[in-house]
Symmetry: C2
Subunit: 646 residues, 2 copies
Amino acid sequence: MDQLSLSSSEALSEARRGSSPVAHHAVTIEDTFWAPRLQTLRDRTLFHIYEQMEQKGYFVSYKHDWQPEKGRIPFLFWESDITKWLEAASYSLAVHPDPALEALVDKTITFLASFQQPDGYLNIWFTAVEPEKRWTNLRDWHELYCAGHLIEGAVAHFQATGKRTLLDIVCRYADYIDTTFGREEGKRRGYCGHEEIELALIKLYRTTGEARYLNLARYFVEERGQNGPPHYFDSEARARGEDPADFWARSYEYNQSHVPIREQHEVVGHAVRAMYLYSALADLARELDDESWLAVCEGFWRHLSSKRMYITGGIGPSADNEGFTADYDLPNDTAYAETCAAIGLAFWCHRLLQLDTDRRYADVLERVLYNGILSAISLDGKSFFYENPLESRGRHHRQPWFRCACCPPNIARLLASLGQYVYGVNETEIMIHLYLQSTSAIAVGAQQITLRQETAYPWDGAILLNIETQQSTEFALNLRIPGWCNRASVEVNGEEFPLEQNLRKGYVRIARRWQTGDHVALKLDMPIQRIQAHPDIRDDNGYVALQRGPLLYCLEEVDNAVPLHRIRLPEAGKLEHHFDSTLSGGIVVIQGSASVLEVEDWAGELYRATPAKHHPYTLVAIPYYAWDNRQPGEMRVWIPVMSTCS
Amino acid sequence: MDQLSLSSSEALSEARRGSSPVAHHAVTIEDTFWAPRLQTLRDRTLFHIYEQMEQKGYFVSYKHDWQPEKGRIPFLFWESDITKWLEAASYSLAVHPDPALEALVDKTITFLASFQQPDGYLNIWFTAVEPEKRWTNLRDWHELYCAGHLIEGAVAHFQATGKRTLLDIVCRYADYIDTTFGREEGKRRGYCGHEEIELALIKLYRTTGEARYLNLARYFVEERGQNGPPHYFDSEARARGEDPADFWARSYEYNQSHVPIREQHEVVGHAVRAMYLYSALADLARELDDESWLAVCEGFWRHLSSKRMYITGGIGPSADNEGFTADYDLPNDTAYAETCAAIGLAFWCHRLLQLDTDRRYADVLERVLYNGILSAISLDGKSFFYENPLESRGRHHRQPWFRCACCPPNIARLLASLGQYVYGVNETEIMIHLYLQSTSAIAVGAQQITLRQETAYPWDGAILLNIETQQSTEFALNLRIPGWCNRASVEVNGEEFPLEQNLRKGYVRIARRWQTGDHVALKLDMPIQRIQAHPDIRDDNGYVALQRGPLLYCLEEVDNAVPLHRIRLPEAGKLEHHFDSTLSGGIVVIQGSASVLEVEDWAGELYRATPAKHHPYTLVAIPYYAWDNRQPGEMRVWIPVMSTCS
C-alpha cells in the first residue's frame, strides 16, 4: 500500500473497540532487543536498587525510635521507592523464580508490615519519624501517594505469588483510609497533592472485587480541586498555622487541584502527577463505563500530544515545577523530561488503548517506550537518568542513584511488566500494539491461542505472526500500522491482504477463522526519516531529527570528530544504515552525507556578513536511547538543516 | 575602494597612536538622531530619575536617626544612584544651563555633604544605618564602589560648574581612604568587591593632579586577588564570624579577585564589575605609561570580543551572576545583557581607543552604543531596560524604575556625555571615531579647529566634513572606516583620496595642511546585510540577523501579522529599506522577501516527516534599539534561514 492516508479525524468517527491487556507473564519476550535488557534487569538492576536502598539507610534509618540526631535523615517518601521496587521484583518473580530475590521481597514485606498500626494505618515516616503529623499536609507530604505505591506493590506481589500476606495488610490500610476520607460526616474531605492512590485503589478493586476501593478512588478524583471555599489545601495549611499563599509552587495547577478535574482543559503542573491522575481517569471511564471521563481524557490527550510533548515522548520541560510550562515550549538542552513522567505517559497511553484501539495512543506509547523511557537506564542496568534532555554539552550522565530516587524503581517496574503492553484482547479480537519477537498465550473468548511474533523489530519492519489454536477459531487479529510508517503490506498465508479498506484507527483488521499454521506477514517500510517539528516549537526551528522506525536518533560526540553543533544536514543527501553488533549491545547506526562548518577563517570575529565556509562530512547517528553508554561527551537530537543549495 | 581588506592581524603590527577625548561640551550634536534624545534626556529623564529617587525615599529614608522600624528600608547602595544622577546632571549643566536642574544638584550636594564624618568618611548607609559595620564587608557591600561614584559625580560637577564644594568634600574622603587602605603597616589590605573606585580615583588624579589618588588606584588594582594567604575576602568573612565558603557566588571569579589581575586571562564573573576594572586597567596603562597593563587589556579584549559578546554589544548572558558563563554561550531569550554592562563596555572601549586608534575598539563602541545601550531607554526617556534580551515572547518591557536602579542613572550619564566619544585628538592628529551631525571645537597642538560633520548617519553613510581653522594648519585627520563597511570612498576638496594605502588600523589618515573651506566627503556603503554568527554560538545556529550600517535590526510583533518564529528568510531575496518618519521618532524600516511556515495542515501532529508548507511573506524589521516603544509583543533578532532551495 502506498502512502497510508488514514487521518486522525477519520479515525475519530469510528466506533471504539476496547480490550484488556494480556498479562505480562503470558508474553514471553524472545528477541535480541528487549530480552537481554530484561535479563539485565533481573540479574542486576533489581539487586542494584535494593543495595542502593540498603546503603542509603532506607531500612535502618527508619527504626521506630528514629530521632533526627541519630544520623542520616530519611526522605519523606523513601517508602514509595521500596514499594515500587517490590512491585518490580514481584513482576519478575511471576515469570522468573529467583530464591535470592524472593528472600529480599519477603524481608521487605516483613519490614513494611512492622509499621502497621492497630487502626490499619501504614506509613513509615508518619509512624517512625513524625507520628503527630499524620494527615496534616496532604498537599506536600506524599502520604496517600505512598499508600498508593504500597497498594500497587501488594497487588503485584499477590498476583505473582498468590500470597495474601501484603495484600491483606494493604486492604486493612485501604479500609482505614476509606473510613478517614470522603464526603460523609466526620470524614476528611482531602485528597493527595501527588496523585497515585487513585489508580492504585482501582487496581485493588480489580484484584479484590471490593467496590468501596473503586468508590474511594472516584471520591479522590471527583473531590480534587473542589474549591469549597475554602480549598482543602488552604484549610489544611491554615490548620498548620501557615498562610496558604506561601505555597512554594504558588498555584494549585502544580498538583492539578486548581479547579475540579472536569473543568480542566489543559495539561498543567507537575508532569508525573498529571500522568498518574489521567491514568486514574481512564481507569474510571472503564470501570464506571462512564464516557464522560474518556472525553476529559481526550481533551488532555489532544493538548498534550499536539502541544506539549518532546519527540522522545518526554514531557514536562521545566525543572522548576518538574512539569509543564507553555504550549510548544520544548527546549532541548534544559529539557527536564523526567523519566517518571515518561513512564506515567506510557501508563496513561496503555489505559487509553484499553478504552479504544486507536493508533494514536499506541504510537505515543511506542515513542516514549523506545526513546524517552529507554534512554533512562544504562546498558548495564545500573545507572539512570532522572532528566532526559535532547541536547547535552557533555555534563549529563546517568547516576547509580538519586537523593530523590523515584525513577530507578519506576523504570524497573515498567520493564519488568513490559509484556503487558504488547497485546489487547476482548471476546472476539486480538490487538497487536507492539512488535517484538515473542511467544504469547492469549485467551480469545473461550479459546486459547498461541501467537508467535518473528521479527527483528525495531531494527527491521518485517513481522511474521504464527498462530496456533486448539481448534479453528473465529476472531479478528488487529495489527497496528505505526504512524511513522508510510508504506505497509500484509499477507495472510502468503496472499496479499487488502490493507487500506480494513484499516480502523490505524489497525488493520483481519477477521477470519484461524487455525494452527496460519501466518500473517506484515511488512512495514522503515526508511530513515528526516523529521521536522511543528513550526511553533521555537527551539526546533530550522532543525531536523533523524528517525528510523520507532527509534529516534542522535549525534554523540564519541562517534563524531567535530563539534556536534557545527554539523549541518542538507535537505537531500544520502542517509544509510547498517547494523553494528559491537556497539551498545548491537544497534543500527545511521551514516549520512552532511557538512561541517569551518571556524578557522573567523579570525576573532563573532559576527560577519560572509556565510561560514563548510566542507563535506559524514555524520554518524545512533539511537537516542543508547547515548551516554560509552565515552562521555556532547549529544544532540536536532540537527540544523544546511541552508545552502550548493 | 572595493572590499576593504584590512585584517585585524595586519592592524596589530602597526604602531600605536594615542589620543585624548575631545570633551563633550566641545561637541555640539545637531543631528536628528541623537539631538532629540539628548533633549529628552535634559527635559525629562534627568527629572524623572530624580523624582523616582525622591518617591522611593532615597533622600528621606536616610535620616541620621534612621531605624529599621521607621519605614522603607533603603538599599545598601542607593547612594550610587544619587551620585550617578549627579554626574549626569552635571554633564548636562555644562552645556545647557537649567536653574531648576541646578537647584536639584545643589540640594543633592548639601544632602550628600551632610553625611561626611569628622575623619572625612562619607557613606550614607554606613553612617545613617549601620555605622558599626564600616569596612567590615568590602566583598558584598559596595562601600568603596559608592565612594567611586561619589568621586565621579564630584569631578563632573567641578568640571561643569567650576565649583569646588563637592570636589573638596570628596578629596577629604579620598585622603581618608588613602590613609585606610594600602600595603603600609596599619592599613587594611582590602579592595572593593565591586570595582569602580579604581577608575574614579584616576579621574580624581587627573582633575586634581594629586599623585596619591593614582597610587591608591594602582594599589587597589594590584592588590586585587593577591591570595595572601589568606585571601582578603576570606579573612574579612572570618572576622564577621562567617565561613568564607558560604560566599553566595561561590567563586571569587564573580568579582575578578580569584587570582591577581595579571594572572587572569579570561573575562569572567559579574560583567559590570569586569568592565569597570578593565577600564581602570586601560587608564593605568595610560597614566603610568605601562604597556604591560595594555597587554593585559588586550588579552581580555580578544577573549570578550571573539567569544563572549552578543551582536548587540551586550555582554554577560546569565542572570545568576549578572555576568559571564562559557565561551560562545549567548542565549537570546534569556540573555541578561545588563544595560550597565553594555555601558561599562563603552567606557572600556573608549579608554582603549585613547591608547590606540584601532578600529576594533571603535567598532565595538559603536555596536554597543547604537544597539545594546540605546535599547535600554524608551523613546520618551522615562522607562528603561535592565536586561536587554535578543528575543522576547512578549513579556519583556521597559520599567520606570527598578528595586536595584543602577541602570537608569548610568544610561543618563553616558548619554549626557555622549559628545566625548566622537573624537580623539593629540598634538598632530584628530581621530573621528563616530559620525553624527555636529559642530566641534578641537585644539590640535596650539591651533583651534572647528570641525563640522554634515550627515544623516546612522541612516545614511555619506559624511561631509567641513574644516575651519584660524590659520592654515598641518595635521592629520583620521576617519574611521567602520568594520561593517565593505566599500568606502573619500574625496578631499572634491578629489578622490587614495583610501587603502592610507589606512591605519581601520582609520584613513589624511595628513595635509588644512584651512578654512577644506572639506572631506566620506562615503560609506550601507547595504542591508545578512549577518551570521560564529558557528560555535549554538543559539544562533541556522539563523541570520539583519543589519544596516551600525544598526542591528529586529522583528517586532506589531509590524508582523504572523508569529515571528514562523518567519523564514531565504538566503537570497530582496531586502529593501525606506525611512519612515512616523515610526519611533523616525527610523529606517527594512522590508524583505521571506516565507512564513504554515501550521494549518499539521492536524494535531507535533512531529512529521513532511516539511512544513510555506508561503511568501514580506517581513518588516526595525532597528533593535527602537523595539518595545509601541504595542507590546514578541521580538526577535535572529531569523531562521529558509532551508529550501525553491
